[in-house]
């Protein structure tokens, strides 16, 4: 890819890396078509609500400490600020640091859609700067401001002369991409454009940039990395602008989720030669080991890594093997972002659980460097295949699949999704935390959690018995792809 940091706008995932949101078939077919470039996504003539890219993009930025987010649009767009406020307070407290990040809206009304409100926006930016003295200010558009052509870039350029911290325009029109992960790219682009500085001369670093969501395994990873004389820099939750400005000095960039970290990883590599670690992710045994070895290779620490792996294997592998006996032969359906679906599928396979259908909310044909995502490549190379769909969080498609396959469990990562599986009578495992399957220790915990979940199905049974599902009988007799249309 070629990263263009002169513009505040970036192309959507659909246009940049050929991502799709509609497909039904098999994993092999999806992967083969991705590789030879013939994959075409479908659109839907009926859909249920999913996610707005602005929520992903701006929540990422709002997790940084002591910054200001100004979301220019009606009050519904900036409603994310309520949760962002809560998150920044509790996440900072957890780390024993403080954050004065503020996320404000502009409560745009009908008059503004007719006459524009750039002057108001300008005053709001200046007021926020006076009130909070943030370390950086991110000014975002919305659907409404985007359509009426409000020129936030010019406003940002103008106020930049009056404000002595970076002021960054962020383009978050919700309609521009079906793929909310485009929001992750938008936040990365903003950071790359105005926050990251070229490496300082003479700085020797042992740091690894680690893109994640909520840094729940922070201390654990710090400890692991100590074995290799490496130090993780977690982003963006609880990051400071100062820390982020030096991302270009690190030895490498890695991430917990390819969908999340792909853009900044590639951008840092392209601009500043910081290698991006492109292995399968850290979930499961093979994932963890492959990732560690790749870090070892890139940072020239192979020996230390191998020593760590053999020590840890001795502790955990026998325990994991023991649990596997009880999991063997169970069936699963899973629905997650593509950064997790095809990684967790691999782990389930490793644990002896049969994936009967995997739904990915979207699918990136290729990553920024032009390669097929490593998680897919792994499954292909290892001759693992199952039915797959790209489902854009469409709950009715999930329910159709669950009703047809009646698996032993449904695994999901997105709020509000698990309850629908259990109303169908299917036990659900909520893979909420991104570190839930991280490394040997958490793979073992994950396996045991699955066991606990399917051992006591009382809650699922109680609720399923008493609740009526909202879908018609007609829908359950239809094929999953009923509403998919060939993209024009």
């Amino acid at each position: 890819m070629s990263i263009n940091l002169t513009s505040s706008n970036i192309a959507t995932r659909e246009n940049r890396i050929g991502s799709i949101t509609g497909y039904v078939g098999t994993l092999k077919d999806l992967a083969t078509k991705s590789e030879c470039g013939t994959l075409k996504g479908c659109s839907r003539c009926f859909s249920q609500s999913s996610t707005c890219l602005s929520m992903c993009g701006l929540s990422q930025l709002a997790a940084i400490r002591n910054v200001a987010i100004i979301h220019h649009g009606p009050a519904g767009c900036s409603v994310t600020s309520a949760n962002a406020y809560y998150m920044s307070k509790v996440m900072a407290k957890k780390r024993n640091v403080t954050s004065n990040t503020v996320y404000v809206g502009t409560d745009m009304n009908e008059k503004d859609t007719i006459f524009g409100s750039t002057e108001k926006l300008r005053n709001i930016i200046l007021t926020v700067n006076d009130r909070y003295k943030p370390d950086a200010i991110f000014v975002s558009s919305s659907c409404a401001t985007g359509i009426i052509g409000e020129d936030i870039d010019s406003i940002v350029d103008e106020v930049s002369y009056e404000i002595d911290v970076p002021v960054v325009a962020v383009h978050c029109e919700g309609f521009k991409s079906r793929i909310w992960a485009t929001g992750f790219d938008i936040s990365d682009h903003a950071i790359m454009q105005k926050i990251v500085k070229p490496p300082r001369e003479g700085i020797k670093s042992n740091k690894i940039n680690f893109k994640n969501f909520f840094e729940s395994a922070r201390t654990e990873i710090i400890d692991i990395f100590k074995n290799f004389d490496l130090e993780p820099v977690f982003l963006y939750c609880n990051s400071t602008i100062e820390e982020l400005s030096h991302l270009s000095e690190s030895l490498a960039t890695t991430c917990i989720c390819g969908t999340l970290g792909n853009y900044i990883g590639n951008a840092l590599e392209e601009k500043y030669n910081v290698p991006y670690i492109r292995s399968i992710n850290q979930c499961g045994i093979t994932g963890f080991e492959t990732w560690l070895r790749e870090i070892g290779r890139i940072t020239d620490r192979t020996e230390l890594v191998e020593r760590y792996i053999s020590e840890q294997r001795a502790i955990y592998i026998p325990q994991i093997e023991e649990v596997k006996k009880e999991l063997n032969g169970l069936t699963a359906v899973l629905g997650m972002g593509p950064g997790y679906t095809f990684e967790v599928s691999r782990v389930l396979n490793e644990l002896g659980i049969k994936v009967v259908w995997a739904l990915a909310w979207h699918y990136d044909k290729k990553y920024e460097n032009g390669d097929v995502p490593p998680s897919m490549k792994y499954l292909l190379d290892n001759d693992i295949d199952f039915e797959t769909s790209v489902a854009d969080q469409q709950n009715y498609e999930v329910m159709n699949v669950l009703n047809r396959y009646k698996p032993d469990m449904y695994l999901s990562r997105h709020p509000g999704s698990t309850v629908w599986a259990i109303k169908n009578g299917t036990p659900a495992v909520y893979v909420a935390d991104e570190y839930m399957i991280f490394g040997y220790k958490h793979t073992l915990e994950f396996a045991r959690t699955i066991l606990d979940t399917i051992r006591n199905r009382s809650f699922e049974e109680n609720l399923a018995k008493r609740s009526k599902l909202p879908y018609t009988d007609w829908w359950y007799t239809q094929q999953v792809d009923t509403f998919l249309e060939e993209a024009k």
């Binding site: 707005c52 009606p74 519904g76 503004d112 709001i124 919700g174 079906r178 629908w420 007609w474 509403f483």
Partner: protein, 432 residues
């Protein structure tokens, strides 16, 4: 005009999808961008027979913005009727179709002959906040679904109160108001929550009276129903919390609906006796503690700011510091609301500020002398501030992070006791 919305306390008009969701088996169908429903839903208690990820959505994309999204809206409604089993389909428009000029009304009218009612409400985000959106949804039901009836049922009274989901206690409160009205010998009819739904919507035209319990939200709906359906309304501006206000509420409703004085007074006596039995047992807790002072502030919408102020002043004898109304109350309604804050016992009047900018609210709280630990009842934003001031904080208004509420309530006599329990639970959790 645009303004600085610093730590906001309301959503946009499309947030009224939650008003639709509160009507059992009514389905919001969003003509909006793909993520509006998820953003506008609260994180707990927003599942149910339908949840935001069930709401059909046209998921408008760039092409629709340029070429119009009418075709997609048509197929979304048609397939919603096929895929999802609902009693009523309420199409809600977001910002995009209203700016680009898609005619949602025309598309919806194509479904006039559908097996189930399909109506629509204009709820573009820039048209106002979710309090206004709530009124739009009720208006849509009145305009597009209800028809006048001569068949009036004696004693049947429609009750409308707070905005579902925006109000943490919406379900419990409306049930408690029903119970109180029932005790007067009247037949309450409400449309929100468990087993109300379309059957109760159908009963609306048969009611003799409408009762609105809210300072301002819903008053336009009352006027519309009076005009179209010939139902006279009583506008009771204060959500009754505790004995003083609830007894006044029962007397007012009783008089309006022609309930005999004896009946009203006997209901009141029964409740007040038990209420004061409880208060008597715990009075020393109020009198003899070191951490709750006399002065308090409420930061909430007009509904709660007014209700809690009157309760704490008239029932518990506290003294109002500045009160903050955060719902962007329409300017023409403000004077009337201020008057209600001036009718407190002993000629007390509360200083009220209509303010949506949390920075200014917090400055005002910091500047006020509470003569000791402040008692702040507000949104989650006040938590850190109150901790900083070493005061007592209760999260009663949106946003809520500190409390899980299923069907608990603050309305009525029992609700007053619940509120006291919550306040003093905070108090006893620190040195007393």
């Amino acid at each position: 005009m645009a303004k600085l919305l610093d730590r906001q306390r309301y959503k946009c008009a499309l947030g009224a999808m939650q008003t639709v969701q509160a009507i059992e088996r009514a389905l919001p169908v969003l003509n909006s961008g793909p993520g509006c429903a998820q953003k506008l839903s609260d994180s707990t208690g927003s599942s149910g027979y339908f949840s935001p990820n069930i709401f059909p959505c046209t998921s408008i994309n760039e092409k629709d913005v340029v070429f119009g999204g009418v075709k997609k809206l048509d197929s979304t409604i048609a397939n919603s009727l096929k895929v999802i089993d609902a009693d009523m389909y309420v199409v809600l428009t977001g910002c995009i179709p209203e700016i680009v000029g898609d005619d949602t009304g025309e598309v919806v009218s194509r479904f006039n002959d559908a097996d189930k009612p399909v109506i629509y409400a204009p709820t573009a985000g820039f048209k106002g906040n979710n309090y206004k959106g709530h009124e739009q949804v009720i208006d849509a039901i009145i305009d597009q679904y209800l028809t006048p009836s001569d068949d009036k049922q004696d004693g049947l009274i429609n009750i409308f109160a707070d905005v579902p989901y925006q109000d943490l206690f919406w379900l419990g409160n409306i049930r408690e108001l029903e119970r109180l009205i029932k005790e007067l010998g009247l037949t309450p009819n409400t449309i929100f929550g468990y087993r109300r739904g379309i059957d109760n919507i159908n009963k609306i035209p048969h009611a003799k009276y409408n009762l609105l319990v809210s300072p301002w939200v819903g008053i336009n709906n009352m006027k519309k129903m009076e005009k179209k359906l010939g139902i006279p309304y009583l506008h009771y501006k204060t959500l009754p919390i505790g004995a003083t206000e609830t007894s006044r509420f029962l007397r007012t409703v009783g008089e309006f609906a022609g309930v005999s004085n004896e009946k009203v007074e006997s209901v009141i006596k029964e409740h007040e006796d038990y209420y004061y039995y409880l208060i008597e047992r715990y009075a020393d807790l109020f009198l003899e503690n070191r951490v709750i002072n006399k002065q308090f502030s409420v930061v909430a919408d007009a509904h709660y700011a007014l209700a809690i102020t009157r309760f704490l002043v008239n029932d518990l004898g506290l003294v109002p510091a500045k009160q903050f109304i955060t719902d962007d109350t329409p300017k023409n309604m403000r004077d009337d609301i201020v008057k209600e804050f001036n009718k407190l016992n002993y000629g007390l009047a509360a200083d009220v500020s209509f303010e949506t900018d949390t920075y200014k609210i917090h400055e005002a709280i910091r500047e006020h002398d509470y003569h000791g630990y402040p008692l702040i009842l507000g949104g989650y934003y006040e938590k850190e501030l109150t901790e900083e001031l070493k005061g007592n904080f209760l999260n009663i208004s949106w946003p809520v992070q500190d409390k899980v509420v299923f069907d608990s309530f603050y309305a009525g006599y029992a609700g007053g006791i619940r509120l006291i329990e919550d306040i003093y639970t905070v108090a006893v959790s620190r040195f007393n």
